[in-house]
């Protein structure tokens, strides 16, 4: 098989095609079709993993075809370890989301079919955005991806969903437009220097003077910081997370927002090494603020979904901290963090989603004593929470630890402040666990049903991944390290020498 990555992107679209011929009323068949399509995609992504040579850096499984000749734009895809792990994260999470949110599509505005069509289109784009090695292609998918999410939030969400969807879209598009200016800028530079290209590897070889670099860097960075989201660009997130369905939130925070942090590594660092070094201290400061701000606000949240959203702001702070520490532990920790955050956010949103659906309220104060009524569900939520606070033994611990080591080497003060984020994380997780799972069974909770088989099947792999990588992270960390070293090589930074203490 030659065009693995293209086929990978097409498979969900074939699902869409199949859905087009499925009768609108037969919602069961629609769901089955969607799940089959997403499982096929998963299998194909595993084939890609199998074909991938983990010992090599640089892009593999590459394909390149001319697309818009007039501007040297190509349909060019390829993966390194960082993008491949994110693609696999996508293909793993989508079927889980489908399975977990079996009834999610039913309360919506347009019925089941549209929901799964949008979801599958979104999957195609999520794969495409990570696979793209042409900056223009990346940009196109980066922007176009927002439209299905917009309709997923606005059409199937809860509460102030239309306003939340609009806010999400406007923020993201605004960032995207700044990025467009920067994309054009770097293209024009490449026209003047090499005749014009959008290929990310070629672009990273350009010589760009420092002040231009700074502007272009900011164009890219602000777009990614909105996406990620980093304080102070985060204000769209809580609303969107609160209004979206559990499945949409999972994909939104678990994968889509990773495009932001992924973009920082792939584009900000690789294309503008000079500007990266200039801005790194400032961005580190923003990251630390994000960590603390997200954690402190999470403690005060009354709504369980906005709580998860704020914890994510804190976690994205960690990821950004790791990236801009510009050390090998920092960056590889950050890339591993992206995966772990995806998985643990999925666990949190899905279990919280089940709780909310059963209880009919997302207010934490309405919950209480769930451990006695729905033990399995409560345990799942508990483990998800532990993963969010990075308990040793779960995979998120490793990544958080790596990020802190990596940043301590260069920015000890920032790392120390960030460490308090861990304490706060313990606080916000344990508080919500205490309030919702323990204590007296609050009235209204007595009749709740525990997880059924379908839901157990959906959550089992998520928890398994958290535990397995917690004890045995090497299969994923090693290739990430290889990719990280090549990124650092590109920027021209090395790890600081750490003097052994006496």
């Amino acid at each position: 098989m030659k065009n693995i990555l293209t086929v990978l992107q097409l498979l969900p679209l074939f699902g869409v095609l199949a859905l087009a011929f499925t009768p609108r009323e037969n919602s069961k068949l629609i769901k089955q079709t969607a799940i089959v399509a997403s499982l096929l995609t998963l299998v194909e992504s595993l084939i890609a993993v199998w074909k991938f040579d983990t010992s090599q850096s640089g892009f593999q499984l590459t394909e390149s075809y001319n697309w818009i000749l007039a501007f040297h734009i190509k349909y060019a895809v390829g993966v390194d370890a960082i993008s491949l792990t994110l693609i696999v994260l996508t293909t793993v999470l989508v079927p889980i989301v489908f399975l977990a949110g079996w009834h999610e599509s039913e309360g919506g505005k347009w019925g089941t079919k549209t929901f799964y069509v949008l979801m599958l289109i979104l999957e195609t784009m999520m794969i495409g955005v990570f696979a793209a090695t042409d900056v223009f292609l990346f940009y196109v998918i980066f922007e176009a991806m927002l439209i299905p999410v917009y309709f997923l939030i606005g059409g199937y969400g809860r509460g102030e969903r239309a306003a939340a969807a609009l806010k999400f879209l406007l923020y993201s598009l605004f960032g995207g437009l700044l990025m467009l200016a920067a994309v054009i800028g770097i293209y024009i530079i490449s026209v003047n220097q090499t005749g014009g290209t959008f290929d990310v590897t070629e672009l990273s070889k350009l010589t760009i003077d420092q002040s231009t670099q700074n502007w272009l860097f900011l164009g890219f960075f602000i777009a990614f910081a909105i996406k990620a989201p980093l304080w102070p660009f985060h204000t769209w997130l809580p609303g969107a997370a609160k209004s979206a369905t559990a499945g949409t939130s999972t994909l939104l925070l678990g994968i889509l927002d990773k495009v932001g942090t992924y973009g920082m590594i792939r584009f900000c660092l690789a294309l503008f090494p000079g500007a990266t070094k200039t801005f790194a201290p400032w961005i580190i400061a923003l990251a630390v603020i994000s960590i603390l701000y997200g954690a402190i606000l999470a403690i005060g949240q009354k709504d369980i979904n906005s709580l998860i959203a704020f914890t994510s702001i804190s976690h994205f702070g960690f990821i950004t901290l790791g990236i801009f520490a510009l050390t090998s532990q920092g960056i590889s920790g950050a890339t591993f963090y992206m995966i772990n955050h995806g998985i643990s956010t999925a666990a949190l949103f899905l279990t919280a989603g089940w709780i909310v659906k059963r209880r009919g309220s997302s207010q934490i104060e309405d919950l209480g004593g769930l451990q006695r009524v729905v033990p399995v569900l409560a345990w799942c939520f508990f483990i998800a929470g532990l993963s969010a606070l990075a308990l040793p033994g779960l995979s998120s611990f490793i990544s958080e630890f790596l990020v802190l080591i990596g940043s301590f080497a260069k920015y000890p003060v920032a790392a120390i402040f960030a460490t308090t984020g861990i304490v706060l994380a313990a606080l916000y997780v344990l508080l919500v666990v205490q309030r919702s799972l323990h204590g007296e069974v609050k009235s209204g909770n007595e009749g709740m049903l525990d997880l059924n088989l379908r839901e157990k099947i959906a959550i089992a792999p998520v928890i398994a991944i958290l535990v397995i990588f917690g004890f045995f992270p090497k299969p994923i960390l090693h290739p990430l390290n290889v990719a990280t070293l090549s990124v650092m090589n590109q920027i021209g930074v090395t790890d600081p020498d750490i003097k052994a203490g006496k």
């Binding site: 818009i68 007039a70 501007f71 439209i147 239309a162 406007l170 200016a181 293209y187």
Partner: protein
């Protein structure tokens, strides 16, 4: 002894064919009975446009700056703009063919018994078709004319029918007539400005032709105050036609009052023609006088973009919103005029197409949303349209997304080409303003989509009429162009780059 001037008929044929069609239409209007008249008129108009298009394709590789003595230059860019105008006119005519939008008898007083009896008897006049053809002929001539006399004649030939057509609306006739009068008065003023400027340019260079003026600038012996005055007044005339701020004030009123198919026709074809002429005048005539106009035009472009986008936010009438949006887009196209390069020219050509078809499509959709008293243009009443007819709302949203420049629509590629050309020409400030304005503009496009899909369904008398077959074809063409050019723009981009040359 006088010799007859030499005319290159093959190159002039497209304009002549359309003019011939118009004259034939006048005769048909006078002599053919009402049973066949409407159908015959539509056929003549469409055939004339298609024939002109075919003839243009046949002569597309020829260039001549002596097609009509020294007054008309047929060159790559000119032919391409003519092709665009004809293609847009074709779709526009498909919409105009739905005569239900036009008053039965324009000469009758609104609300009079005469009007009522004309409607009751089904005496539908169809003068709109020959008028449209006359306007198209003027539009074809405008961007290829190379001296100011011909330019002025073309400007008038394209404008006068439009003034009339703006007043032909069947419903809300007073509003329509007010729009027509306003358009006429302001248009007449701007034409006068144009002519006045041409006179000054003659005074400056001793020539009315663009190349003569360019030579005058080149030798730079003459008094450049005359040049400045002439340039500014000519620009006023052109900027009025494209609806740039501060000469835009007619746009919302006329767009709102005119029959919707006419609005679509005006918003696209007139703009393409006027920008075509502007491109030629500035690329050929004033290229060497950049110092004098570049900064003014940059300012106007910025104001136009920003003002259009901000004013559109507060509109509650869908036609007015699109009017302000068209002002913003005029600003975007101006960016490519200012780039003054081959890239800029081809970007403008692409933008005409991407913007033109989306605009026609959007206005076509507006003609479908009605209640018993005619079109509903109040956006509040469009609320929940997505529920009632998802296809119509979906198509409208697609056009809005294209206006907003969301990737995978033609509008995005249009913006990308314009910004790239401008960046390449060193006008980075304009790119930044363009990008920021796009963000503002997106706000109101998205708000409309929000109303369509997430708004409460109004329990009122709104209906979406089943479109006639011609309207359906028109909308289908617009949707197809918007998507295809968004996904695979090379089809047009390559040819636009090949054709984007002006000869002197």
């Amino acid at each position: 002894m006088l010799t007859a001037p030499h005319l290159n008929y093959a190159l002039l044929a497209p304009i002549l064919i359309v003019l011939g069609g118009a004259l034939l239409g006048v005769l048909v209007e006078a002599f053919v009975g009402k049973a066949y008249r409407s159908r015959l008129q539509v056929s003549i108009a469409l055939l004339a446009v298609v024939a002109a298009f075919v003839q243009l394709i046949r002569v597309r590789t020829q260039t001549s700056n002596t097609a009509a003595v020294n007054s008309v230059s047929m060159d790559g860019a000119g032919i391409y703009i003519q092709l665009i105008i004809l293609a847009l006119s074709f779709v526009g005519l498909l919409l105009i063919a739905d005569t239900d939008n036009f008053t039965a008898q324009a000469s009758s007083i609104p609300g009079s018994t005469e009007e009522a009896s004309a409607i009751a008897a089904g005496r539908q006049q169809t003068e709109v078709f020959p008028l449209t053809l006359f306007a198209i002929a003027g539009m074809l001539l405008f961007p290829v004319a190379t001296d100011f006399i011909t330019l002025f004649v073309a400007l008038e030939v394209l404008s006068l029918p439009l003034y009339l057509m703006a007043g032909l609306s069947r419903r809300r006739r007073l509003l329509s007539q007010e729009a027509a009068l306003k358009y006429f008065l302001l248009g007449a003023f701007s034409s006068a400005f144009f002519l006045f400027g041409a006179a000054f340019l003659y005074g400056y260079s001793g020539s009315l032709s663009l190349s003569g003026i360019a030579d005058g600038i080149h030798s730079s012996g003459a008094n450049s105050v005359f040049l400045l005055i002439g340039l500014i007044f000519v620009s006023v005339g052109l900027l009025f036609k494209v609806g740039a701020v501060p000469f835009h004030s007619w746009t919302p009123d006329v767009y709102q009052g005119a029959p919707t198919p006419i609005t679509g026709f005006m918003a696209t074809c007139t703009k393409a023609a006027a920008f075509g002429a502007m491109l030629r005048i500035f690329y050929v005539g004033f290229n060497d006088a950049q110092w004098s106009w570049r900064i003014i035009f940059s300012t106007i472009a910025v104001i136009t973009m920003v003002f259009g986008a901000i004013a559109a936010i507060v509109q509650r009438d869908v036609k007015r919103t699109l009017a302000f949006s068209s002002i913003t887009h005029a600003g975007f196209i101006m960016i490519s005029v200012i780039a003054l390069s081959h890239d800029g020219l081809s970007a403008a050509l692409f933008y005409f197409i991407s913007y033109g078809f989306a605009t026609l499509g959007a206005f076509a959709i507006i003609t479908l949303v009605r209640d018993s008293s005619g079109e509903i243009t109040d956006l509040n009443r469009w609320s929940g349209l997505g529920k009632r007819s998802p296809l119509v709302a979906g198509a409208f949203s697609l056009f809005l997304l294209s206006f907003g420049g969301i990737p995978l629509t033609a509008g995005f590629i249009g913006k990308f080409t314009v910004f790239t050309s401008s960046y390449n020409a060193g006008n980075i400030n304009l790119v930044v303003f363009g990008v920021l304005t796009s963000a503002v503009a997106l706000f109101f496009y998205l708000k409309i989509i929000l109303t369509l899909f997430f708004g409460e369904v109004n329990n009122d008398t709104l209906t979406v009429v089943i479109p006639s077959i011609l309207t359906r074809i028109a909308i289908a063409i617009c949707v197809a162009v918007t998507i295809v050019l968004g996904v695979y723009p090379s089809i047009i981009l390559n040819s636009a780059q090949t054709f984007a040359t002006f000869i002197r």
